[in-house]
């Protein structure tokens, strides 16, 4: 190899090493990203292994890239020198170096002469020393392609970022990828149904008329309440209880509450019936229409079939004695339990409850 080629070779080897390092590290960071990602997804806790793999792959890639791609050959050096404005003289000289015909000899002389001429001037045009010594002050600059810098930067961000995530996952700071995906899938696989309550006739739904319910879960309770002069009949699924809580929803459902206008003497107004008076017994003939005592018309104006627990304490409606007895007995039992209340107070409360029950 010629003297001037050797001088520039060192310079270009530096460039090749830098390029190999950058490209090799890019590959290393890419592998680090992949390995760290796999570790993160699988929950593999030995994250140090990903760093070992990174170093091994990077080193191997740097060496391979240098020898297979970036190591400057004679022609590469010639091409680079030619780019200084030597009009392909050096590459031609290199190719025909073993031809000693006159024209090739002249070509070499011309190339070397141009080379000295080029290197005897600095890039700003000022004249420098000419001659072989000056060839060392190379005009060839180390050129790193912008694309390589961008690739390395991106790979560094991806690789180091993923490695950090993997380490945090392995240390339990954040859940691993598998768990996150599992949660996401679980959420994604949840199904929701719409439960709609509608009315037909004079009444309304007390509660959420339209409910979005997760599959298998229960809807919130609602009650079908009749307007004045109307009585609840039944639901579209033939349930006769105006109170309902639909459970274990498995489909979109629409339920209709049917109301019927109350007939004369059964206006359903708060369950009042003609002749209903407090103190009347349910068996009294005058109280036939009290509440929901009509066996053919189980609903009452209170919004449903007669039931002691389904009535409003309005001071007018007869609620039946049994329930007051039950309240009394519950009260007595509650008061009689061990507590801080002294005996006189307990007796007083029991007496009061008795007056209500009576």
């Amino acid at each position: 190899m010629n003297e001037y080629m050797k001088k520039h070779r060192k310079h270009l080897i530096k460039e090749a090493v830098i390029k190999s390092l950058m490209a090799g590290l890019s590959i290393g960071f890419l592998v680090l990203f992949i390995v760290a990602f796999v570790f993160f997804m699988t929950g593999f806790s030995a994250y140090w292994l990903s760093f070992v793999i990174f170093f091994v792959v990077s080193a191997a890639a740097v060496v391979a890239l240098y020898f297979l791609k970036y190591r400057p050959g004679e022609k590469d050096i010639a091409r680079r020198i030619d780019k200084l404005g030597l009009d392909e003289r050096i590459i031609t000289m290199t190719e025909y170096s073993d031809n000693d015909d006159y024209i090739f000899t002249r070509q070499r002389e011309d190339a070397v002469g141009s080379l000295y001429k080029t290197f005897s001037h600095s890039s700003d045009g000022s004249k420098k020393r000419s001659g072989a010594d000056n060839l060392g002050s190379s005009l060839i600059k180390i050129v790193i392609p912008l694309s390589l810098i961008i690739i390395l930067s991106v790979m560094f961000l991806f690789g180091s970022g993923m490695a950090t995530v993997s380490v945090m996952s392995a240390e339990g700071v954040i859940p691993n990828g598998g768990k996150i995906i599992e949660d996401i899938n679980e959420e994604r696989n949840k199904r929701y149904f719409e439960v709609t309550y509608v009315v037909e006739g004079g009444g309304f739904i007390e509660g959420d008329e339209v409910q979005i319910v997760e599959a298998g879960k229960d809807a919130s309770p609602i009650v079908a309440v009749a307007d004045d002069g109307w009585v609840f009949m039944y639901w579209s699924d033939e349930l006769e209880d105006p109170f309902r809580t639909d459970v274990k929803i498995k489909d979109n459902i629409v339920l209709t509450a049917y109301f019927q206008e109350a007939e004369d003497g059964d206006d359903g107004d708060d369950g009042d019936g003609e002749g209903d008076q407090p103190g009347d017994e349910p068996g009294d003939t005058e109280g036939e229409n009290q509440g929901d005592n009509d066996s053919n018309n189980p609903s009452s104006g209170a919004g449903g079939k007669y039931d002691p627990a389904n009535q409003v304490f309005d001071g007018e409606t007869y609620y039946g004695g049994d329930i007051y007895k039950q309240y009394y007995e519950d009260g007595v039992e509650s008061v009689s339990q061990e507590g801080t209340t002294d005996k006189d107070e307990k007796d007083y409360i029991i007496d009061y409850l008795k007056t209500i029950a009576d």
Binding site: E88, T92, E95, D101, I103, R106, A111
Partner: protein, 329 residues
């Protein structure tokens, strides 16, 4: 093998040729240089320009400077092939019997000025095909070799399209260069008028004989071409095709038919001469790129889109060069 003397002679003769041509032809440096390069490289030249810009004068001057037999053929619509190639005529022999004798046409010369070539019919234009490529003429089944060197220097007028016949692709491809002769600048016009006021006589002297020209060609042919440059040239040629492995986006968009392999040959042959004229002993990318315009402009056929956008062949070549240069240099 070229010797030191050959190289020296090439340099001296080139200088003489340019000096002598400049005595009769004012300005038109690129056209003069292109024509001389083509003649040294052994190619034919098509000169295109409006009337009066000196096309014919340049060719006549070159005929004088190269000291070669020179014939002018004025192409007209009624010109027949036999008027170009020659024909067999009946003559009486010494024995009194009639026999055919070949009467050579004007093509049997070294420098042919095919003036206003596009005014002749395609049939007559085609009479030049064999002569331009093989340097032979076949009449009545008999081929006759033309003397060397042989050149066709044709002129055509880009306007006045009525009554003209555009040259077919095969004919175009046989011209190494198509040179556009521009209008002279004001300074050049002043020089032209000053010169012609004194005398219309052409004063250029002989600077080179036919043999010397052939030696110059042989010398130039030995100029080495690096593989990189050769490959670049072939890529450039191939890149003008809308369908090829190295096709450029410009070619795909604007070119209907790309350049033939003759373009690649012409680029290398002319590149060697150009390099040597510049005093360089190898062909450079810059030589190829400068020659790309005269070599390719008549070999590519633009499509409707290019015409609709008002692009010329030179515009398209420039775009192709930019793409190829960016990708392959």
């Amino acid at each position: 093998m070229a010797t030191e003397k050959d190289i020296e002679q090439f340099s001296v003769q080139c200088e003489n040729i340019f000096t002598q041509v400049a005595r009769d032809v004012i300005g038109q440096k690129e056209v003069v240089e292109g024509t001389i390069i083509a003649m040294i490289a052994g190619g034919n030249v098509l000169l295109e320009g409006v009337p009066g810009v000196g096309k014919t004068r340049l060719v006549r001057t070159l005929g004088r400077v190269f000291d070669l037999p020179f014939k002018r053929i004025q192409f007209t619509p009624d010109l027949m092939p036999a008027d170009v190639t020659g024909t067999n005529i009946i003559v009486k022999g010494e024995d009194g019997n009639s026999k055919f004798q070949f009467q050579p046409g004007p093509i049997f010369s070294s420098i042919i000025l095919a003036d206003e070539i596009n005014r002749a019919t395609p049939k007559t234009q085609s009479a030049l095909l064999e002569a331009m490529q093989e340097h032979t003429v076949t009449v009545m089944g008999e081929s006759r070799k033309l003397s060397e060197p042989f050149f066709v220097l044709a002129t055509q007028n880009p306007i006045e399209q009525d009554g003209t016949y555009p040259l077919p692709e095969a004919q175009m491809d046989r011209f190494m260069f198509k040179l556009i002769v521009p209008d002279p600048s004001v300074d050049e016009l002043m020089d032209i008028v000053s010169l012609t006021q004194k005398t219309m006589e052409e004063v250029a002297d002989c600077a080179c004989t036919g043999e010397e020209l052939l030696r110059m060609r042989a010398t130039a042919n030995q100029i080495p071409v690096a593989q990189d440059v050769l490959k670049y040239t072939m890529i450039l040629t191939s890149a003008t095709h809308p369908i090829s492995e190295v096709s450029t986006a410009t070619a795909k968009q604007y070119i209907r038919v790309g350049a033939s392999p003759r373009a690649g040959q012409a680029l290398i042959s002319a590149g060697k001469v150009k390099a040597l004229i510049k005093g360089r002993f190898n062909v450079a990318y810059s030589d190829i790129e400068e020659l790309a315009y005269p070599v390719l402009r008549h070999r590519i056929k633009l499509n409707f889109e290019a015409i609709a956008e008002g692009l010329t062949a030179d515009d398209v070549i420039k775009k192709v060069l930019e793409e190829v240069s960016k990708k392959y240099r």
